[in-house]
């Protein structure tokens, strides 16, 4: 289990991470969310032991993360971290050896992973000749070639088309099945929502929301009602408990303060004609994220 306890990191006078705590169990996927500069990469770098926190501690299976443990960790950086003058094979032999793997094991696993990612033909190609998406695949393979117990993925879907995103998702879920603890960041909330059981939202290095996704959604009081029918936007806005009304192409999205106000909306809708849809939905993670980040910035 990865345990981050009360970690704080300063760069000079700037507090990049502020008393952050979370834990990730084996076989669990954890989302570290936040806008740019929120402290996600700094947190990853501290987990990887690249930089020391000013206070707090980070442990994996109750041991401080040091160079005896990093062989069991996989790290995919947000920016490309490949030595682009090397071939795919040379790159894997290099990074694999840094994970204390022998050449046979690296090549065996590489063949398997290249096949899985459908890029076997690029094994002897120089990385700088590959497309952005294929470079991302190679980088991902380099992060998992050591079959890590802890996998850190900083924006793993960057530069990928929808088909390859699906491929990555399936591999990540396979790793989860095998018991790998996975921690990842993404700007795409739909991806996070699909994967993460647990998450933390960072704003200016500080956690503004944390916990299991289902609990977060349940505890988030603002609900959304979708209505299709002959309703009037101005009438909806006048109803008590309604925060906002958004008219989309063929429906209305009504945000209410909490579930108890749904009956007020329902009473109004009952009086209207041609109503074909009335559904109360939980808010999306993106909506929660925007609301929480907005709150933190005082918007």
């Amino acid at each position: 289990m990865l345990k981050v306890e009360n970690v704080t990191k300063y760069y000079g006078d700037f507090k990049a991470v502020d008393n952050l705590s979370f834990d990730v169990d084996s076989g669990e996927i954890f989302g570290l969310l936040g806008v740019n500069g929120a402290g996600k990469t700094t947190t990853f770098r501290m987990i990887m032991n690249l930089i020391e926190p000013n206070s707090g501690k980070i442990t994996f299976n109750n041991k401080k993360i040091d160079y005896n443990l990093t062989d069991k960790i996989g790290f995919l950086t947000e920016e490309r971290s490949l030595l682009t003058k090397l071939t795919v094979k040379e790159q894997m032999l290099f990074y694999g050896a840094l994970k204390s793997l022998d050449e046979d094991t690296i090549l065996r696993r590489l063949d398997k992973l290249l096949k899985r990612f459908e890029i076997s033909e690029y094994k002897d190609r120089k990385i700088n000749t590959l497309s952005k998406g294929n470079q991302q695949k190679v980088q991902f393979i380099s992060a998992i070639i050591n079959e890590p117990k802890l996998l850190i993925l900083d924006e793993p879907f960057s530069g990928l088309d929808p088909i390859n995103i699906e491929l990555f998702k399936s591999v990540i879920l396979e790793l989860k099945q095998k018991g790998t603890s996975i921690i990842f960041s993404s700007h795409r909330m739909d991806h996070v929502e699909l994967f993460c059981e647990k998450l933390v939202i960072l704003v200016k290095g500080k956690s503004v929301l944390e916990g299991y996704l289902k609990d977060i959604k349940k505890d988030y009081k603002i609900k959304k009602i979708i209505i299709e029918g002959d309703v009037v936007k101005k009438d909806l806005e006048k109803i008590e408990g309604v925060i906002s009304v958004l008219k989309t192409a063929c429906s209305y999205e009504v945000n209410i303060r909490d579930e108890s106000y749904s009956k007020n909306v329902f009473e109004y809708v009952k009086t209207r004609n041609n109503v074909t849809k009335y559904v109360m939905e939980e808010p999306s993670l993106e909506e929660i994220f925007v609301a929480k980040v907005g709150e933190a910035y005082g918007k």
């Binding site: 062989d71 920016e79 971290s81 290099f94 840094l98």
Partner: protein, 438 residues
């Protein structure tokens, strides 16, 4: 971690040695070195005006022809590879016509009451400066001889006048010998030649470390590497592999030099041609005999180890500095800017070697020879030429060891922070802060 250190060192070294540009570069350097050592043979092989026979036709109106001919025959001593043919002629008009479209020279010697004789120098086209000066010198020599003969000086006296002075070299200090004096002169020249490859290797060393660190840094591959090995392991693997590479490269340069000398030896001894005679001036055997007789070879027992220690510690200092500077920069362009002062420092020594020949015994130059980074080129040269003793070299070694220690102790702290720093904002502040951290 020890295995990872070995792996990184081996990886970095093999990466350089297996690089096709290393192989191509060395092939070119080998050809250039062998070629330079045998440059005179190569020039001679292709021929040119320089080895054409110099035909000097002389029309003598003075009666001094024999003396003039004898002196003109010495013209070839001043020329690289030409035979001089001096012929007496009569008809001025005819001889001038014969000069058309040739490189022949016609000298018309006329009586001159105030200057023994005067000469009209006739040629079809321009004559190169060396040839002209050689003829001019020989004619002056002939004039002196004639003038002395005309003064009724006894032939024995005349012979004495033209004979070079005999110098007997005597030393009050009985330990000093003429052979040692000659050997020191030979070695001071030789050390200047040895310094040039050292300078070249320093450039290799600093460039390689900078390029490697910057490549890993700019691709962010550094984050993955430092995520798996400590900055200390990474740093020392770079230092060790680069120094090993430089040693290998240095050995290869020596091999190229040896091959060049062997080829020179073979081509000179197997040929009796004029070029071979002209190029056999550098006789390695004679130089070695001089060194052997001088007793300097006996001193090499401690001189060579001192120089080797000085070289190793200097290369280490340069590589440590290069690694530290490379870690602070974010791209190769910035590194090259930072690396320039290092290059200038390494050149100071070379210029001071030249200055030391003009200012023998200069205290300033002796003092500078102790300064780390400069001592690599200056101290061995001064030691071999006898300007400084082993004591000063030992001081230079101690100062270098101190610099290396400081660079390892504090430089490593800078390296740890530098390699994961991608911003140039407050760069020096960050580095000084890193040094202060415990």
């Amino acid at each position: 971690m020890e295995n990872k250190f070995k792996f990184l060192t081996k990886y970095s070294l093999l990466k350089k040695l297996k690089n096709k540009w290393f192989l191509i570069g060395n092939a070119i350097v080998a050809i250039i070195i062998v070629g330079l050592i045998n440059i005179d043979s190569i020039i001679g092989f292709f021929g040119g005006d320089f080895n054409d026979d110099v035909k000097i036709n002389v029309i003598d109106n003075t009666g001094y022809y024999d003396v003039i001919e004898n002196n003109l025959k010495n013209v070839d001593k001043y020329l690289t590879d030409s035979k001089v043919i001096v012929t007496k002629k009569q008809d001025v008009k005819k001889q001038k016509q014969k000069l058309k479209d040739t490189n022949d020279i016609l000298l018309i010697i006329n009586k001159d009451e105030t200057n023994v004789f005067s000469v009209e120098f006739v040629s079809d086209s321009y004559v190169d400066m060396v040839k002209y000066q050689a003829i001019y010198t020989c004619l002056n020599s002939a004039k002196s001889t004639i003038a002395m003969q005309n003064s009724n000086i006894d032939p024995n006296e005349l012979s004495k006048i033209s004979k070079p002075v005999d110098i007997k070299r005597t030393f009050i200090n009985e330990e000093k010998t003429k052979d040692e004096e000659d050997a020191k002169n030979v070695l001071s020249v030789a050390s200047m030649i040895i310094v040039l490859p050292c300078f070249m290797l320093i450039i290799f060393l600093t460039q390689m470390i900078g390029a490697e660190v910057n490549e890993e840094k700019s691709t962010r591959g550094m984050e993955i590497i430092i995520g798996n090995v400590s900055p200390k392991t990474h740093f020392f693997s770079k230092i060790l592999s680069s120094n090993l590479f430089v040693l290998i490269q240095g050995a290869m340069l020596l091999i190229y030099g040896a091959v060049g000398l062997i080829i020179r030896k073979l081509t000179v001894s197997s040929s009796n041609g004029v070029i071979s005679q002209a190029t056999s001036n550098v006789n390695i055997g004679e130089i070695l005999d001089t060194l052997s007789n001088s007793g300097i070879i006996n001193k090499l027992g401690y001189v060579i180890p001192l120089i080797i220690i000085l070289l190793v510690l200097s290369f280490l200092a340069y590589s440590l500095l290069a690694g530290i500077l490379a870690s602070m920069t974010t791209n190769m362009e910035n590194y090259q800017q930072l690396q320039t002062p290092l290059m200038v420092i390494s050149l100071i020594g070379y210029y001071l070697i030249l200055a030391s020949t003009m200012f023998p015994g200069a205290v300033f130059i002796k003092a500078i020879s102790c300064i780390p980074l400069i001592s690599i080129s200056l101290a061995p040269s001064l030691l071999l030429s006898g300007e400084i003793g082993a004591g000063i070299v030992i001081i230079a070694i101690l100062l270098l060891a101190l610099l290396d220690f400081i660079l390892i102790k504090y430089g490593l702290k800078v390296y740890k922070v530098g390699i994961l720093n991608y911003s140039e904002t407050n760069l020096w502040k960050k580095m000084f802060k890193a040094i202060k951290e415990k």
